[in-house]
């Protein structure tokens, strides 16, 4: 298939998606306006849209900062947590798998901690570091770290089969150079796969971590709107989470394409 066709089919797919979405929203609008459901609990999309837009800067009753601020908080937490987790995961994965003897102990410890649902750490973290950004960032970073480190370890295992480490040594390179110039580069496709999984989990944990013991963030906003009986704003914020997911996904895909280009034929 030529690039032109690909572009064309992407456009058609986009149009179809918009069409389906408009049908869904029209039905919702109609059902709500016709009072086939309780319009207070299921406000029509037009109202969801206008109320949510207003909430960006003018949040309803006693909800503190506007929705824009809450989105900013959440995005900041997820991106910071993800970045820390990815960097730490790559460093740990490479070092622990390359120096196998001490590394295998560290990997066993990781295997033990891995199955514990990350969100369970949150109440403990809140006790230790408080209710602010740090506890959420740590949770997101930890989950990203798990995914990235495990994938990096597999990447390093493939690197061990390669001759490139020997090539670096034969040119007189130190073991640090072997890691930097051979092992890391060879592990990149696996690292990227781990980072991609981490994007998904970071988004989920961004919202989930704000549902527990929190005072801000979009997750908190959704919860607060439900409790304060502002369903339109609640639906709006939920849709925004979905849109954030799409944006994160698209941004990562662009990055991924650039990084992986040499590796894929």
């Amino acid at each position: 298939m030529s690039g032109q066709d690909k572009l064309g089919s992407a456009w058609i797919r986009g149009l179809k998606t918009i069409l389906v979405l408009s049908v869904i929203f029209s039905l919702w609008e109609f059902v709500s306006r016709a009072e086939m459901v309780n319009p207070f609990l299921f406000p029509p999309p037009t109202q969801v849209f206008t109320d949510t837009l207003t909430a960006f800067t003018n949040p309803p009753y006693r909800s503190g900062e506007g929705l824009l601020f809450q989105i900013g908080k959440s995005v900041y937490r997820s991106i910071t947590g993800w970045t820390i987790g990815v960097i730490a995961g790559v460093l740990f994965g490479i070092v622990a798998e390359w120096w196998n003897k001490p590394g295998s102990v560290a990997i066993s410890v990781l295997e033990f901690l891995r199955p514990i649902p990350v969100i369970l750490f949150l109440p403990v973290l809140v006790l230790i570091v408080g209710i602010g950004d740090l506890s959420r960032i740590i949770v997101i970073a930890w989950a990203s770290f798990i995914f990235v480190s495990i994938n990096t370890i597999f990447g390093v295992r493939t690197a061990k089969q390669s001759l490139l480490p020997d090539v670096v040594r034969s040119f007189g390179g130190s073991e640090t150079l072997v890691l930097r110039q051979a092992v890391f580069g060879l592990a990149v496709p696996q690292i990227v796969a781990g980072a991609r999984q981490a994007v998904g989990i970071a988004l989920v944990l961004m919202v989930a971590s704000e549902l527990i013991l929190s005072t801000d963030g979009i997750g908190w906003f959704i919860l607060f709107m439900r409790r304060s009986l502002f369903p339109a704003q609640m639906y709006g914020a939920i849709l925004i989470v979905g849109i954030l997911g799409l944006i994160f996904g698209a941004l990562f895909q662009r990055l991924e394409k650039r990084i992986l280009r040499p590796y894929i034929r």
Binding site: S162, L163, L177
Partner: protein, 264 residues
């Protein structure tokens, strides 16, 4: 540049022993025991032998990639760190897939710490030209054929300007036609460089055609079965392999290798 440098060193293996502990059982695998072998300065020596006979191990020992179990390896004039260039058979696994041809060829210089970008680029350009890869500087290894990938590896090692060149069955995984082309080009390139080159192969024809000298090794533990000087000076492949001296040698080596124990 290369021609003005000091002569490439001679290499002496004295009583070299290499054993591996087989994983799982107590058996010790003896690859070679008390092997004495010398390579003269600027000589292209081909080493031929059955697979698993330890010919690749000789290169790895000289290159310092695996430790000696006994004996010693020395260079003359003596140097603690001679510049060694390795060319591996498995080119796809020996190149950096994320680097372009240009950057792969610069790799040795980069590892060595040649900071100047233009200096690296100049060296790379010269050897990319020499191996006939001009126009492919920005391609990635995966976009190239096997023969071209092996040319990248060759350019990379030449750009490093090694004192000693160790080639481990470099053409073993290429098709016959590509192998011929590369053999002829390699001879031409090496004739102008005057480096000490050890070239391991299990292809008798290749070993006789390329070598100034050919060492025939036995099945492990490796012993020297024969040690020939080149029989005919022509570098034209067709002429070389149709000469009587070549055919005589070919049979001789064939018989030597066939008569060895074969438990492979």
């Amino acid at each position: 540049m290369t021609d003005e440098r000091l002569a490439s060193p001679a290499i002496h293996l004295t009583g070299v022993t290499k054993t591996y502990d087989r994983r799982g059982d107590d058996e010790v695998l003896t690859i070679m025991e008390g092997l004495d072998l010398s390579f003269h300065s600027g000589e292209l020596v081909t080493i031929v032998g059955p697979s698993g006979c330890g010919k690749s191990t000789i290169l790895k020992l000289i290159g310092g990639l695996v430790p000696l179990s006994g004996g010693s390896i020395s260079f003359e004039p003596s140097s603690p760190n001679p510049r060694i260039g390795f060319v591996f058979q498995d080119y796809a696994n020996a190149l950096a897939p994320w680097k372009t041809v240009q950057r792969n060829v610069e790799f040795g210089l980069e590892i060595e710490g040649v900071a100047s970008k233009s200096e690296r680029a100049d060296a790379a350009a010269r050897y990319i030209e020499m191996v006939g890869l001009n126009g492919f500087e920005d391609a990635y290894p995966r976009e190239l054929s096997g023969g071209m990938q092996q040319r990248v590896q060759l350019a990379r090692v030449l750009a490093y300007e090694p004192d000693v060149l160790l080639m481990d069955e470099p053409f073993g995984s290429l098709d016959a036609q590509t192998r011929r082309d590369l053999q002829q080009e390699l001879r031409k390139i090496l004739d102008s460089l005057h480096r000490t080159v050890l070239f391991v192969t299990h292809d008798i024809e290749e070993s006789l055609y390329l070598g100034d000298r050919t060492v025939v090794l036995s099945h492990r533990p490796a012993r020297i079965l024969a040690d020939f000087e080149r029989s005919d000076q022509t570098s034209i492949f067709e002429d070389f392999v149709s000469s009587d001296s070549f055919r005589k040698r070919f049979h001789e080596v064939w018989d030597l290798l066939r008569s060895g124990p074969d438990d492979a």
